[in-house]
Symmetry: C2
Subunit: 425 residues, 2 copies
């Protein structure tokens, strides 16, 4: 007997039928002897519909009021889910984020969880109820106003509750079977991963994998919560994301050298051309960007040409923030000192992720060779200890992802994944 | 400068346009130098749609969860209204029933307000904001669960908040111009009432007038809150409901002898035939009814026939509860002792209301004469100090209401209302 926190996304509870199906699944977990807390998102497109309504009333709705509005979405789905469970003969109670003790900062629309005080949830499950909790929402510590956590917030709610309740597992139910070695829409032969470490998952999430959002994985790693990502439409085992490998049968699943290939075409590239190669220049550029509240991803600077003493600095950022970045840099051109700016939103990023690359020197070379064999030109390179990312033309991304996926033996009909020997890469 | 509590019903905020129109009206009240608290219902048919959704999931949804579900409705309308007001350049904050301090008992779906502690509302308006409050909802004192107040609950929220905030007036905005001397859909010549006492309004509400519900008027009378019922679609003065007459120009509006004619065709009549005329019989009947949690309206018992020592007792009740009442009585037939039951759901009730009838002896006679002239047969009669009600065939109701309305000079093109002399009736 354990405590299980489950999370169901909007597509799983899109209509009355979906809610009844999810209710059955929750009851199964309870019948298996567990205490169950289920975190639920708003039904299907509810959130988008509410945003539309807000825009009809005001083109720039106030953050506090937008949060008040959007939180109606989970209120509807969680109450219906509790009703559906009671109909199956089990006791259930629904709780808002505030009632569940999800305490956040006061940044409306993208609040961060500061603390979780799940006293009412604990009491409810100890009394034998199934507790249904609204995802995506909380209450601000300072103003007591209702807040929302931003995109993917329900996953974070689930992991944070699992941590606060010391749950045995956090099950994230979604419309796919788990985490794949690449996006199955791009790579038909992508393989479901049985187990992946929290570190590798963090890199995949940061590199464009959409199954789990970065913030949620970060939370799971900080509190060491095992996550089980699985489909709400099937009974299959999904992907375990945890610090310790799982066992299947009597065999421990081994750490793969390469966990997967992620890609991202949502970014643009800005190149600052003709920057004097002297201390303080990069700082001036990125101070300007951060003052404009723009989040950036990769930063690349190469050695300067000896003849001019000038260098180029490139960085990538979400396309939606491109205009703002260019404006901010142009405005500060005098202070920073550069020749010109180049903006390119036809780029894509391909990332290879795997803790195994730390100890396998051939990975980087094989990665570049696979891209070269596929005729893909590399524009930027950036690496971390367990990831290599390259920027290419956006058009090249699908082919590049498939080529890399095949080269590393990740295709589902490969006999075996590639095996490396030696240490260091 | 004063404090005004306004209430807007679902038809006033049915869509984005309605919300913008209401926002303008709220801002006008603010610009006239008032502090403004606006209580708002769910948009248009939202509540009915949510109930439909609940019934798709569970035919008998649990009260706690139904309340959690339904309260999403006002959450949506109040957040949108706050956005629309901010768009007009004024500060606004929305508050749930719980945040507004509406404390209720724990009877889900028809909770009663126990206390109102509007500290956050007071702070908000003192800081210069317009406060928008969700009608119809509160939080239970004992369980801290979300509750709803039942039909017409938003009016009660508004009056209760007005009382707790010591407001100067509670304005109830609706889709008609005010309280009429009869239902304008039945009596084309019905006249808008400029002022009506809280007592007369209470009797009209109890007799089937739908503009204000009984519980809301009761609350206003207990705390002596003046209510102004008016249209959200026009700028016209509506109907003042208050203990003290209002002045128009430099003239005080006089108390009418007859305030209006109400009717109700939502009830059925049960007759318990052949009841022994001895002490305890009526008590046994109505104990049975109240044990079945059925609310009844009129009770009529006539003198018994001397020959048999048996009498008949009739009562009226909502049609929806008819089956339950008959079953309960049949089950207790042995204990109560009666011959048979008669059930009739083709009845209607017509009520004449006016404090003036206390001091005008001719009213009752004129009422019965008007009905007789219209060929309407009377089945039951019941009176209070300021009301006479009769039960007739349902089909006769429209004609009966028009006849009585005309006879008492209430028609809008009458020269003058009927004037009585003398005292006592």
């Amino acid at each position: 007997m354990g405590l299980v926190v489950q999370k169901y996304g909007g597509s799983s509870v899109a209509d009355a039928e979906g809610i009844k199906r999810v209710a059955k699944r929750i009851v199964e977990a309870k019948q298996n002897g567990n205490q169950v807390v289920a975190v639920v998102s708003a039904m299907g497109d509810t959130t988008d519909e509410l945003i539309d309504l807000a825009e009809q009333v005001s083109p720039m709705p106030a953050g506090r009021e937008l949060d008040m509005l959007l939180t109606a979405g989970e209120r509807i789905s969680m109450a219906l889910l509790a009703m559906a469970i009671k109909k199956l003969g089990h006791e259930a109670q629904s709780f808002t984020g505030s009632q569940a003790g999800v305490i956040t900062d006061s940044v409306h629309n993208k609040a961060r969880i500061i603390d979780v005080t799940p006293g009412r949830i604990k009491t409810s499950v100890d009394e034998g109820n199934i507790a249904i909790v609204a995802g995506f929402q909380g209450v601000s510590q300072d103003t007591k106003d209702i807040t929302t956590l931003g995109r993917g917030g329900s996953d974070t709610t689930a992991v944070a509750l699992a941590a606060a309740l010391d749950a045995d597992v956090c099950e994230i139910y979604t419309d796919v079977d788990g985490v794949f070695t690449a996006d199955p829409r791009v790579v038909k032969k992508a393989r479901k991963i049985d187990w992946i470490s929290l570190e590798d998952m963090l890199e995949l999430a940061a590199s464009g994998s959409k199954v789990l959002l970065h913030r949620c994985v970060e939370y799971a790693r900080r509190y060491d919560i095992p996550i089980h990502v699985r489909s709400s439409f099937s009974g299959l085992q999904g992907t375990w994301v945890s610090s310790e490998p799982i066992t299947q049968g009597d065999k421990q699943v081994e750490q793969a050298i390469i966990s997967g290939v992620a890609h991202d075409t949502s970014e643009a590239k800005v190149t600052v051309v003709g920057v004097p190669d002297k201390p303080g220049e990069a700082a001036a550029i990125f101070r300007t960007i951060s003052d404009a509240e723009i989040n950036i991803d990769m930063i690349v600077q190469n050695v300067s040409a000896a003849s001019t003493g000038l260098t180029d600095i490139s960085f990538t950022l979400p396309k939606a923030e491109g205009r703002k970045a260019i404006d901010a840099l142009e405005k500060n051109k005098g202070g920073i000192g550069f020749d010109s700016l180049r903006y390119d939103d036809q780029i894509g990023k391909i990332s290879l992720v795997g803790a195994g690359m730390k100890t396998n020197p051939g990975v980087t070379a094989d990665f570049f060779k696979a891209l070269s064999d596929a005729g893909v030109n590399i524009e930027l390179i950036s690496t971390s200890e367990i990831r290599i990312s390259v920027v290419t033309r956006a058009d090249d991304v699908p082919e590049a992802v498939r080529a890399v996926h095949t080269a590393f033996g990740l295709d589902s009909d490969s006999d075996e994944a590639v095996v490396y020997g030696g240490t260091g890469r």
